[in-house]
């Protein structure tokens, strides 16, 4: 996700379209990315590796925050 202090023009554009569609009551939209990675195991070492991958490549931590979440298939 873009960091809170970073302007998110795409989120703003989506937000701007809501009234035209009749949706009200949404005060803020921010747009981010979701990556689904398939791995054989979710042990600590694997998750540490994925965290490193997220930090160095999938996210640019200068402008974005990231979280890693495990979901069982």
């Amino acid at each position: 996700m873009p960091k809170p202090e970073i302007l998110d023009p795409q989120g703003k554009a989506v937000l701007g379209a809501l009234p035209r569609l009749g949706f009200t009551g949404v005060s803020e939209i921010r747009q981010g990315k979701r990556f689904e990675l398939e791995v054989a195991a979710t042990d600590e070492a694997t998750l540490a590796e994925i965290d490193k991958l997220a930090e160095t490549f999938l996210a640019n931590t200068v402008i974005e925050n990231y979280t890693v979440r495990v979901e069982q298939a």
């Binding site: 023009p9 795409q10 490549f57 640019n60 402008i63």
Partner: protein
């Protein structure tokens, strides 16, 4: 000087950058993204375009190209490196320059002849200009809005590392009207507008951009 111009998959402005290098009296050397050495060049230009289709983030995939390992190492040893537009995005993704470049605040692609003020003439890419000199070069980007945290902006301003600033119009919402910055040592410069498109009267808004490329020669003979 021998100036390498890197071509990534999706680079557009490599040929114009090579031409600008030649017009300025330097020798252009084509470098490929898969190269594992810099073929003895004295300086490197990362040109504009849409490398890897801007997938993931602009410049994020190019940053891990084999040639970038060499460019990052050479930059650390003081080699002059100029990133233009997508090249600037690759430099911030490489952490050779601070901050980030995100979508324009008005969300539209912008293409215009842009007035800039050159504020730092001590870099190997800007020494041909006078401090405070205003130039007009083309600007074309969708994700050219320079952002950084307040501390970084203060440091860039305090250390005189804002190389070029937008004048009259801020075309993309960049913080502090920043069009280009340098690293602490001054050898690495990132610039969102395109001086390589303004090196000859016939094909650009003028030849104001030529100074970025003639600066290298001045340095070599200084």
């Amino acid at each position: 000087m021998r100036v390498g111009v890197v071509t990534f998959p999706g680079t557009l402005d490599d040929v114009d950058a090579q031409r600008a290098v030649r017009v300025s009296g330097n020798e252009a050397v084509a470098l490929w993204h898969g190269d594992r050495d810099l073929h003895g060049v004295d300086a490197v230009i990362l040109p504009g375009g849409f490398s890897y289709g801007d997938y993931l983030r602009c410049g994020a995939i190019s940053r891990f190209a084999p040639v970038m390992t060499e460019v990052i190492a050479a930059a650390g040893q003081g080699m002059p490196v100029l990133g233009i537009c997508n090249g600037f995005q690759i430099l911030v993704e490489s952490h050779l320059l601070p901050g980030g470049l995100i979508r324009n605040d008005h969300r539209r692609f912008v293409c215009r002849d842009q007035r800039l003020r050159i504020e730092n003439t001590s870099t190997p890419w800007t020494s041909a200009y006078e401090r405070g000199q205003e130039i007009v070069v083309p600007l074309k980007n969708g994700e050219g809005r320079y952002v950084a945290d307040a501390e970084t902006i203060a440091r860039l301003e305090g250390e005189g590392r804002v190389v070029a600033r937008y004048v009259e119009v801020n075309p993309n919402g960049s913080m502090s009207d920043i069009a280009g910055i340098a690293n602490g040592a001054g050898n690495v410069v990132g610039l969102m507008p395109h001086p390589e498109h303004a090196v000859e009267e016939l094909t650009g808004p003028g030849a104001d951009g030529l100074g970025f490329f003639t600066s290298l020669v001045e340095r070599a003979f200084a």
